[in-house]
C-alpha cells in the first residue's frame, strides 16, 4: 500500500506532521505530490521508508535523516542531506547549495548540477562512509574541510564547463574526490589537495558508485567505467598542525 499526500498549498509543518503520522501508522511507502518548496522533508525520519517526492523539494531535505530512501522527481533546494546519518536520496533534477554538509553516512545521487559548498566537512566513521555522486557539475568550495567519504562529479551534461568551481577541497583532511575527465585546472583546487589520475586501486571505491548512478538514471554503466577520472586526496591529515606554541 502507498499513501499519497497532495502537498499543494500545504505548510511544511503540516506536511511533515502528516508524513510522520503515516509512518508512525506503519506506512512504508509514501508519494508526495505537488511539492513546491516545502522544507525539511524526511527530516529526522529513522524508519526504512520510501518517499517519492514530485515537484521541488525545499531546503534541508533529508537533514539529520537516518535510513529512509527519498526520490525527488524534480529539483531540490539548498541544504540537502545536512548532517545526514544514513539513507538514500535520489534527485532527478539539480540541487542547490550546501548539499551533504557534515554528512556522516548514506548516499546522495544528483542527476543534474549542484551549487556551492557541497560536501563540506563530510566525515566517515567505521562502516559509515557517506557518498555523493553528481551527474553535472559543482560550484565553488566542493569538499571543503572534507574529513571522510567519497564525492564524485561526472560533468556529463556540459563538458565544455569545468566540473568544479574554485577552492575545491580547501582544508580537506580525509576522504576522496573523483572528477571525471583528464585534468581539472589547478587553479580550481585548494592548497591541501593532491591531484592524480585515478587508477586500478580506485576501482573498488569508484565502480560501485558509477554502477549505482548508471542504474538509477538509466545510463550505460560500462561506458561510465571506461571514462578517465582524476582523484583528489588530502596532502595531509593534519592540515592545521604546527600553528601553535605550546
Amino acid at each position: 500500500m502507498t499513501t499519497e499526500i497532495c502537498a499543494q498549498q500545504m505548510d511544511y509543518r503540516e506536511l511533515n506532521a502528516k508524513v510522520r503520522a503515516a509512518v508512525a501508522g506503519g506506512e512504508r511507502e509514501l508519494v508526495l505530490s505537488q511539492v513546491n518548496g516545502q522544507r525539511y522533508l524526511g527530516v529526522g525520519l529513522t524508519q526504512p521508508v520510501k518517499l517519492s517526492i514530485h515537484g521541488v523539494a525545499g531546503n534541508d531535505l533529508a537533514a539529520f535523516m537516518d535510513g529512509p530512501t527519498l526520490e525527488i522527481w524534480g529539483n531540490a533546494q539548498d541544504g540537502v542531506g545536512n548532517t545526514m546519518n544514513s539513507g538514500r536520496v535520489v534527485i532527478h533534477g539539480s540541487a542547490g547549495d550546501v548539499l551533504g554538509y557534515g554528512m556522516r553516512g548514506g548516499r546522495i545521487l544528483v542527476r543534474g548540477d549542484v551549487g556551492y559548498r557541497v560536501g563540506i566537512h563530510m566525515k566517515s566513521f567505521k562502516r559509515q562512509v557517506p557518498t555523493i555522486v553528481v551527474g553535472g557539475s559543482a560550484g565553488d568550495f566542493l569538499g571543503e574541510y572534507m574529513a571522510g567519504g567519497v564525492l564524485v562529479v561526472l560533468n556529463l551534461w556540459k563538458e565544455e564547463k569545468e566540473p568544479v568551481g574554485r577552492w575545491t577541497g580547501t582544508g580537506m583532511h580525509g576522504g576522496a574526490i573523483y572528477l571525471r575527465g583528464g585534468s581539472v585546472s589547478p587553479d580550481r583546487l585548494g592548497r591541501e589537495v593532491l591531484a592524480a589520475p585515478a587508477g586500478e586501486e580506485d576501482q573498488p571505491v569508484l565502480f560501485p558508485l558509477l554502477d549505482d548512478f548508471a542504474t538509477t538514471f538509466g545510463l550505460e554503466a560500462e561506458e561510465l567505467r571506461r571514462q578517465p577520472f582524476q582523484r583528489l586526496t588530502p596532502t595531509s591529515h593534519r592540515p592545521y598542525g604546527n600553528l601553535y606554541a605550546y
Binding site: 537533514a63 601553535y244 605550546y246
Partner: protein, 501 residues
Amino acid sequence: MTSLVLPEFLHRVDHQRCRRCKRCVMSCGFGALQFLERVVADHAKCVGCHRCATFCPEGAITIERNPTALRYNAHWSEEHRKAIWRQAESGGMLLSAMGNDKPYPSYFDHLLLDACQVTNPSIDPLREPMELRTYLGSKPERLEFGAGPDGKPRLTVELAPQVQLETPLVFSAMSFGSISLNAQKALAMAAEKCGITMNTGEGGLHKDLYPYSRHVVIQVASGRFGVSPEYLQQGAAVEIKIGQGAKPGIGGHLPGEKVPHEISETRMVPVGTDCLSPAPHHDIYSIEDLAQLIGALKEATRYEKPVGVKIAAVHNVAAIASGIVRAGADFIFLDGFRGGTGAAPTVIRDHVGLPIELAVAAVDDRLRREGIRNRASLVVAGGIRSSADVAKAVALGADVCAIGTAALVAMGCHLCQKCYTGNCSWGIATQRSELVRRLEPDVAAERLVNLVRAWSLELKEILGALGLNAIESLRGSRERLRAVGLDQTTLDILGVKPAGR
C-alpha cells in the same frame, strides 16, 4: 633552541619535612617532578597547578612565583617580552586556556544591590517560601484562559516546550575531549541532583551520560561532531553553537592525538583524526539560514524541545540577538569575553569580545524595546564568579546564569590555564587515564552540588533582602542596582543609576 624564558614558578620542597613518599612526583601531570634520592623539580615545567602541594601529606611543598625580576618597563611588560621570546622560539600562535585574565574592568564589581529598610519590608527566606525555580524556553505573549471540561478555568494558550530549572543556574558547555569523561559525569550527576542542566559542548554525548539526558543540553556546532538522530533524541534542549566568549569568531580544533577510542566513538570520527570545527557553520551565512537550522532541529525533535543559540558577546550583540530571536530561537546563550575555553589563541582570548554585564543589559534592553523579550530566555555566562554576580546579571536582564569555570574550580581546577596541553593534574582537562582516574565522579559531583546549594541559599538571602520572593521578579529589575565609579555612558548602557541617586 635554548629558551630565553625563565620559569614562571619555583617549586620548593622542605627536605627536612619531606618523608620521601613520592606522592608529589606522581601528582604532577606536567612531568615537573622527579625522585632522585630526593624530590627534584624542573621549574620550567611547573605550571603552578598546586596538585602536588595540595596532596603533600607533610605540607612540605610551596610554589612561588619566580621572584627573578626583569627590568621594569610599563610598556614592555614581562608578559610581552616573554610572549615575544616564546614566539621567536616557536613561530607559532600562542595558545591559552580558561578565560581572559587581563585586568579589564569588571562591571559586576561596580554594581551594588539594593535592600529593603522600614518600608516594603524584607523577607526572611528561612521562614517564607522563596522561589528560585525558573524555565528555559519561549514564553507566550499573553496568557489566555477558558473553561475546561470540568468548568474550571484552564490555560488556553499553547505553551512552547520549557526546561524546568530548580535554580537559575546551568553548567556551561564543556565537551568530552576538552574535559574528561569523569568530569562530564560529575557535571551530569550534579545537574540531575540540583534539577538543572549540563551541556555536552561540541563533542557528542557519551553513552554513559544517557541516563542523565533529561538534564543535558545537547550542542550542535559547526563540526557537527556526534550529531546523530539518536543524539538529538537525547537531551532536554538543543543548543546551536555559533560562538563562545573566549574565542568569538574562531573555530575549534581538537588535535588528532587527543582523539582516542572513547572520544572517537562519541564524536563519531576515526581514532586520531583532527576534529576541526570550522569558524562559521557553512550552512549559516545569514539570519535566514540560522532560522532554517533552528527549524530543522525543531522538526527533527518534533517540536518537543527548546532550541537555542549560543553566541559570543561582540560589538553589535543586541542587533544579533534580535535577529536570533526572530529566527525562532527559544533561548539565547550569551557568552561574555571572560568565558572559559579548553584552548584558544591567546590574542583572541585576551582582545576580542564584550564584557557580559554590558552585553546582557544591551540585549535585554533591545529585546524589550522591540517587544520580543518574552520569545526567548537569556542564559548569561562568561566569568560568573559568585551568587552576587548571578543576582546582578539577573537584575540586568538574565533569566539564568551559566557557569563553566566556577564549576571546574569547584571540582578542583586551579586555573593554571594549561588545559590545551591535556596534562591537567586535576583529572579535569585531560584524557590520560592515570590522570582522569583521580577525579572521582561521585566526589566531584558532591562538590558541585554543594556549590549550587550554597549559591542558591545566598540568592534566597539576596532576594529576601530585596523584599522579593521569586528570582523571576528580579529579572531585568535594574532599579534594584546602583553603580559606583562608572561614567554616564556606561550607566546608560547598563540602565543603572549611580549610587546615591
